[in-house]
């Protein structure tokens, strides 16, 4: 009974359905996404982000924590690091001492006032049930904090100060600019940088090893390159490929491209060349075919952007013109405009830009 109360409401449904215990357990293990399965359990497991890890390790040694604000691009280990630290500090008390709220939970001002406040008010025992010492505070993790409304953040200010003796806050977000000033100044800020390719590849290699996958290093490189320092996406991609192809399969670059949804370079290049030659009707048919192949317009824009920025042949002025158009069309696409029209307008701009040189 006690255990049931502890796990709370969310845990309950999993308890209710129990077809046949041993099989169910296997299922669970199979079904957990690799992203969860290979999440670092220990602060020392975390690759990269050395400064942050050092600070956390020091803090754990002294058994105290500041309020923290983690920011950085997705898939760099922000959530992982705080979970790993909490797990190490609290051990078996882990579930009791943590309240995690993310963007998909309701996080309006009402929730801040009731749920967060009532959790913050609870007292944390300095001695755990097993008689060992345990840090006398709880951690509230606000994942994706940049999507909280301003009002909700404002409501948080006073709570953070008042409950400082027994509660630590850890805010996790992508953009620091969306956190209101008073909150930011109450926290120690840590910036997370994108993972280096080297570290990501070694992590992927480790997973491949564990899961008995055969993948060439060049394939892993391509996956890492495409995910742009986002380890979560890279791992997701790896798992998707295995789901499609089965385990005893040598993963090729083409499979990886297909799963990530990248457009093969030669297709983009063909369009690019057609623009360069100023052949409008050619551009039109190539574009039509590209869309018929089912490639999404947003992806075309992304890859074009890369190409334009790193092109040596274009002058700065041309790049500005094209870049401006790319931005505008991307905006219109997310608003739901017709892909064909928007992409056509991009390519015709590029075509004119080439002519004007």
């Amino acid at each position: 009974m006690h255990a049931f109360l502890k796990t709370g409401k969310l845990g309950a449904p999993t308890d209710v359905k129990k077809p046949s215990t041993s099989r169910a357990k296997d299922d669970k293990k199979d079904l957990t996404p690799w992203v969860e399965k290979y999440r670092p359990k220990n602060v020392d497991d975390i690759v990269e982000q050395t400064e942050v890890v050092n600070v956390i390790r020091q803090a754990m040694k002294h058994g105290d924590f500041p309020n923290m604000l983690f920011y950085g691009p997705p898939g760099t280990g922000k959530t992982s690091i705080i979970h790993a630290a909490a797990r190490q500090m609290f051990g078996s008390m882990y579930k009791d001492r943590i309240l995690e709220l993310n963007a998909s939970d309701d996080r309006g001002i009402q929730v801040v006032r009731e749920k967060i406040k009532s959790f913050a008010l609870r007292k944390a025992n300095p001695i755990g049930p097993d008689g060992k010492k345990c840090p006398p505070f709880k951690i509230i993790i606000l994942d994706e904090a940049d999507s909280m409304t301003g009002a909700a953040q404002t409501a948080l200010r006073r709570i953070m100060e008042k409950e400082a003796h027994s509660t630590r806050f850890c805010l996790v977000c992508n953009y620091l600019s969306r956190i209101i000033k008073p909150i930011a100044s109450r926290c120690t800020k840590f910036r997370f940088k994108p993972l280096s390719d080297e570290k990501s590849i070694s992590r992927l290699e480790y997973i491949c090893n564990e899961e008995n996958l055969k993948a060439d290093r060049s394939v892993l490189e391509k996956i890492v390159e495409a995910s742009g320092g986002d380890l979560r996406q890279a791992v997701m991609c790896l798992q998707s490929i295995t789901r499609l192809k089965g385990k005893n399969y040598e993963i090729t670059v083409d499979d990886a491209l297909d799963v990530i949804g990248l457009i093969p370079d030669e297709k983009i290049n063909a369009l690019w060349e057609a623009c360069k030659k100023g052949n409008y009707s050619n551009v039109e048919t190539l574009l039509e075919n590209l869309l018929l192949e089912g490639y999404p317009g947003s992806q075309v824009i992304e890859q074009l952007n890369e190409k334009v920025i790193f092109s040596d042949e274009l002058s700065d002025k041309q790049k500005v013109i094209i870049g401006d158009m790319l931005g505008e069309c991307d905006y219109k696409l997310t608003e739901g405009s017709d892909e064909y029209l928007q992409l056509l307008s991009i390519f015709s701009t590029i075509l004119i830009a080439w002519k004007s040189s």
Partner: protein
Amino acid sequence: MSLWVDKYRPTTLAKLDYHLEQAEDLKNMVQKRDFPHLLVHGPPGAGKKTRILCILRELYGSAAERLKVENMQFETASKKKLEILTISSNYHTEVNPSDAGIHDRIVVMELIKATAQTHHIDVGQKEFKVILLSNVDQLTRDAQHALRRTMEKYISTCRLILCANSTSRVLPAIRSRCVRIRVPAPTGSEIKNILHSICKREGLHLPDEFANRVIEASGRNLRRAILMLEACKVEQCPFTADQKITEPDYQVYIRNTANMMVSEQSPKVLLEVRNRFYDLLTRAIPCDLIFRGLLKECIKNCDDQLKREIIGIASEYQHRMIRGSKPIFHLEAFAACYMAIYKKYIESSLEGFM
């Protein structure tokens, strides 16, 4: 008697006619225990739905084909009642949430909750049910955000198959939670093989040249190609090579409208064009199609600079149309704007002559 499109629709993954490698992959995936969420995307008429139905059949056997149509009721926060048509079998539910307009979030959440809370009793089947959401790219932001949490929460009892034309408007968070299946449109020769095999089974002779023309007119849309072929059969039964292919009426109509705009630019023509737009809209022709059709004709005899300008205004007005409430204003604005630019261009080039 059913249409050829339905009659000759492959029912199992093994019977698919093209993208064989992909079919093999899908089969692989279905046989494994951990079936993921899927996001199937591709242009219209490429066979997305066919593949999804095949997957369902592979998962649950022929029981997935016994369908019933149901009206589900939902209540919004403001106590407004919504009715949504769903098609379901014992194992899956298909719904088009964008029917609900801005209330699609409620539909998505309630439906998933209702489906995920009940369990199968029969042991032999998979332990999850499938919800098939079509037109995901039309979902509001709100609904997509709600979807991402529910997708994770109920993964043990419920899998989603999302179907969309393009993933541009699907949130990255959702994209990364699904295995993406891209279904490219079939190539000309693939369509040709299919048309030939259909004719063979119907006991008809299909001249090669005629098949080529049908394919050309269909624009690599398999469904349209088959429908056209059947329409042609009704008109003239033993096929001949130089038989007329009836194009959809609206295409001809749009083309004529565009030609009017090209041939004369005056307020009088604008008025006529406006009437024709109304005609098209009252016959429920999608505005995107009208825009595309117009643009294609309008820029045929322009130089590159002018093309750029006209494409620019077309994309601008199309975007406004999506944001705005009534498409007619924006279509009209485009027509007027086009006429002004075109007239100026013609006049300036005439001046050069004199």
